[in-house]
């Protein structure tokens, strides 16, 4: 074996070790939650209302609440986000106004989630009088996820070669037809990835729903969008810090359910991406 090969070999081993160090903590956290939480998972835990000061029974309303909030977020954020991205990528000229807009979007993506929570409290809960409700929470989460969705979707649209738009126009297509039939389908995997990343964040955050949607203890499914709801991340926060004598099994079980929802959304995103990548032909 030559010297050069030996050095290369050493490099590979080093890089391998570094990546191991990077993933170790993640694996440890996940492993710990699975080991300690798996014992709590059973049919009752997933489908029953909480009982006995939330120490017994299940977390059904928190699971449903989180799914409702994510759904509500999706209904608002997906159309608005894609529309905004199409406007920025395909129609907006490069003016001072659009530059400010882009800068604002990038910065909004970095704003701490509790700020969104306070904003939602002010606008939706108090000013628009939606109260602490699924509606107010969904809208707050939608506003928090929009910057992510818009910027990833805009990037995906810009990655589609400009020639396609030109060809479509030269065949008598309007600008919208070119976008609708050529550009959007090509950009779809990137757009979907952005949507799922955004919704993932919405599913896991506590701060934005703290003042806008979450109920401390509400052992039933909300009857309307104007009612508050329990939700997994907030419930987890409550049973970890606010209720003395909580069995760790229940805490870890709740964390495991939240983690499973989030990771399976991630997996769906990965599957969609690889499916489209195999189909793409340019």
């Amino acid at each position: 074996m030559s010297n050069r090969h030996r050095i290369q070999r050493l490099g590979f081993i080093l890089l391998g070790l570094i990546s191991l160090i990077v993933v170790m903590p993640i694996l440890f956290v996940i492993g710990n939650i699975v080991v300690q939480g798996i014992g709590a998972i059973n049919w009752e835990f997933l489908t029953a209302m909480p009982r006995g000061g939330m120490k017994e029974g299940g977390i059904f309303p928190a699971i449903v609440g989180t799914l409702l909030l994510v759904l509500g977020t999706a209904v608002v954020a997906i159309p608005v986000g894609i529309g905004g991205a199409i406007y920025l990528a395909e129609y907006a000229r490069d003016t001072l106004w659009t530059r400010i807009l882009r800068l604002a979007i990038i910065n909004l993506a970095g704003v701490p989630s509790v700020v969104y929570g306070l904003f939602g409290l002010g606008l939706f809960v108090l000013f628009l009088q939606f109260g602490v409700s699924v509606l107010a929470g969904s809208l707050t989460l939608a506003i928090m996820t929009l910057p992510v969705i818009i910027s990833t979707a805009e990037e995906a649209l810009r990655a589609v070669p400009g020639e396609f738009r030109l060809v479509s126009a030269s065949l008598g297509g309007t600008r919208w037809q070119g976008i609708r039939y050529i550009v959007l389908p090509q950009a779809l995997p990137g757009i979907i990835t952005g949507i799922i990343l955004g919704l993932l964040r919405a599913a896991g955050e506590t701060a934005p729903i703290l003042f806008t949607a979450a109920a401390f203890y509400l052992p039933r499914i909300p009857r309307s969008l104007l009612e508050p709801t329990m939700a997994l991340p907030y419930h987890l926060y409550v049973i970890s810090t606010q209720v003395p004598g909580m069995p760790p099994r229940v805490q870890y079980g709740t964390a495991l359910v939240l983690l499973t929802i989030v990771l399976s959304m991630n997996a769906v995103a990965a599957i969609i991406r690889s499916y489209f990548r195999r189909r793409r032909e340019w």
Partner: protein
């Protein structure tokens, strides 16, 4: 015969930089008109004025008039998508759209509102035959267009333009990426097509210009130097600059 396309004192600017200067040129129907000259002379710009594809470029300015069948195509109220159906365009690189051979050909007709399946099948076969591609792809109509060879892809692009049943076909260096045999096939196809269409082509070489030209227009730095029937221009050019260029004495 009435010219199909007329340029009347057309100047065109990208920002402040002129790309065309006072071009006056008549393009006859049912013939191949060659637009040739050194790089940056404004050939692509001229072509894209005929189907208004340069509308998509920001910060440009035009003076003068461009007429198609005697109608000014830059007057307000012109239906631009309709104009682009009448004036097809083939680009320098083969640019198949994502999707199959069939989807590529039928993209334009479907946008134009053709729904009848029998009619679509007819358009598909007719345009592929016109572009001399039918025999090579008739068993691969539902394969991705990107799997065709470069030469086949370029004829696919020609067929795709023809599927619109245009009156004019613009080709901007359509064979620049092709080998001599594929180039020959494209040129042959054009010779057939000129009986039905008005063809304007930017060739990729002076040799090709001489081979295909019924009429030839020589452009230099945005100016039309001269336009003559091809056999005259390439044997007895009137202008010294044309002669220098076609004999290869040009810097």
């Amino acid at each position: 015969m009435e010219p199909k396309i007329r340029f009347q004192n057309v100047s065109y600017f990208y920002g402040d930089r002129p790309a065309l200067r006072g071009v006056t040129l008549d393009i006859p129907p049912n013939a191949i008109t060659v637009i040739f000259g050194p790089a940056g002379g404004g050939k692509t710009t001229l072509l894209r004025l005929i189907n208004r594809l340069n509308d998509e470029v920001e910060g440009t300015r035009m003076t003068g008039r461009v007429l198609l069948d005697g109608q000014d195509i830059y007057t307000p109220g012109v239906d631009v998508p309709l104009l682009r159906r009448r004036v097809g365009m083939v680009f320098a690189l083969p640019l198949p759209l994502p999707g199959t051979v069939r989807e590529n050909i039928l993209y334009g007709p479907k946008l134009a509102g053709v729904r009848d399946q029998a009619r679509l099948d007819e358009i598909l076969e007719r345009s592929l035959r016109l572009a001399a591609l039918w025999d090579e792809v008739k068993d691969r109509l539902d394969d991705p267009a990107s799997r065709l060879s470069g030469g086949q892809q370029q004829r696919l692009c020609i067929a795709r333009s023809l599927a619109m049943e245009p009156e004019v076909l613009l080709l901007d260096e359509p064979t620049s990426g092709l080998d001599p045999i594929s180039t020959g096939k494209v040129e042959e196809a054009l010779q057939e097509l000129k009986h039905q269409y008005t063809i304007v082509i930017v060739p990729h070489s002076v040799q090709q210009a001489a081979r295909v030209a019924d009429y030839a227009a020589f452009f230099l730095m945005g100016e039309l130097v001269e336009c003559q029937p091809g056999r005259d221009l390439f044997t007895t050019p009137r202008d010294r600059r044309t002669e220098d260029y076609i004999t290869g004495r040009f810097g």
